[in-house]
Amino acid sequence: MKPRKFDYIRPDSVAEALEVLARYGEDARVLAGGQTLMAMLNLRLVETSVLVDISRVKELEDIRITGGMLEVGAAVTQNRLLAWPELSSRNPLLAKMLPWVGHFQTRNRGTVCGSIAHADPSSEIPLALAMLDGEVVLRSKRGTRTLKAAEFQLGMLTTARQPDELIVAARFSIANGAAAFHEIARRHGDFAIVSVAAWATGQSRMRLGVGGADSRPFIRNIDVNDGAHMRDAVENLVWQLEPYEDMHASPRMRRDLVRNLAPKIIAEALA
């Protein structure tokens, strides 16, 4: 299908983008890579009066280390971050998760921040943000605010972004502990039914993240010192999830997948 009509605005700077968002608010949608938004516009699941294309705003193209965190600008594509030479040394967990985001072709255009903005509970990047004590930098004409992942991610496709705000960057902590990630999907690159990430945060401490099994990324720190304790912790986690039902899996199946996948991912991160 084809999208409904909209006005197209392509700002050259963040300041211009903020002017446009301040003026149009809820009537505007921000277009970065468009790998979800364009599909939703084509399917007419989303309509908008104004489309604000930030893909050519040069200020938003940076990948840099700042304040001990990896900061990724809003126009940085997923494949650009994946190809960043320091990624696997600075952030092994992100390096393991990014190849699972969509397909090679959609990662060429899809952005890191766009995925965070969309807040699909089965998406990898929002899970990475929650796992890695991430932050989202929001700017509007009113000012700048920085929200922790848990403050930003409110629920299924729902974030704390206000209509006049632009996500200018996302920040991930530098995390050189061992990491592992895997997800279950019908076909590699499709939406995950569930995903599990593990990150060794200290001696015998492991942070476990689950995607696709609750309305937002689900994070727990567990002790992996002895096997029995770890199995209890996973079982405990599984029953704290509130999985949703869709055409791919029932809540029970999602719990079962996490129950079976989590110990394997923990073992891989410990190995």
Binding site: A39, N42, T106, N108, R109
Partner: protein, 175 residues
């Protein structure tokens, strides 16, 4: 700041397969439709129009993207290469196309233009890929005829042919 009202038709000028091309488009026109209907470059096929099937994949500034998830106005002043750019003089198939033909890696051919374009980008970045990497890239396309096995074989053949011809060039032999 560029601003186009919803009913406004604006000129879109781009470099298509190495030559200047232009037409007019309203904001909501997809690049895939602009290429086919306005510029007449019908080698790019349109399947699902929501980024899943991969038929409409083109190179935008050398990078493989879904043209159905890109607006025509976004391609203004940029470079687009489609499947029409691949064959040489007189329609001589390039190594990748020839391998597809030899391996029967297409039947109806509807998905083929997108697949050829994806691997054109990918093999430039990764001239010596593993079978797993090829399968992963092919995961971004749907083919309902071949069962994919012959497509993977064709890409691996093309890799070998390209490697052999670059060795010949280095050795000073005619390629």
């Amino acid at each position: 700041m560029k601003r186009i009202a919803q009913d406004e038709r604006v000129p879109v000028r781009l470099t298509l397969n190495g030559k200047p091309a232009s037409g007019t488009a309203e904001p909501r026109m997809l690049l895939s439709d602009f290429l086919r209907s306005t510029l007449g470059a019908t080698g790019t096929h349109v399947g699902c129009e929501h980024g899943v099937c991969g038929c409409c994949t083109v190179l935008l500034d050398g990078v493989a993207v879904r043209s159905c998830l890109t607006l025509a106005v976004q391609a203004d002043s940029r470079t687009v290469d489609t499947v029409e750019s691949l064959a040489g003089d007189g329609g001589a198939l390039n190594a990748l196309q020839a391998a597809f033909k030899d391996r029967h890696a297409l039947q109806c051919g509807f998905c083929t233009p997108g697949i050829l374009i994806s691997f054109t980008d990918f093999l430039r970045r990764e001239p010596n890929p593993t079978r797993e990497q090829v399968t992963e890239v092919l995961g971004g396309h749907l083919c309902r005829c071949t069962g994919y096995v012959d497509i993977v074989e064709a890409v691996m053949d093309a890799v070998k042919i390209q490697a052999a011809s670059s060795e010949n060039l280095q050795a000073g032999e005619p390629s």
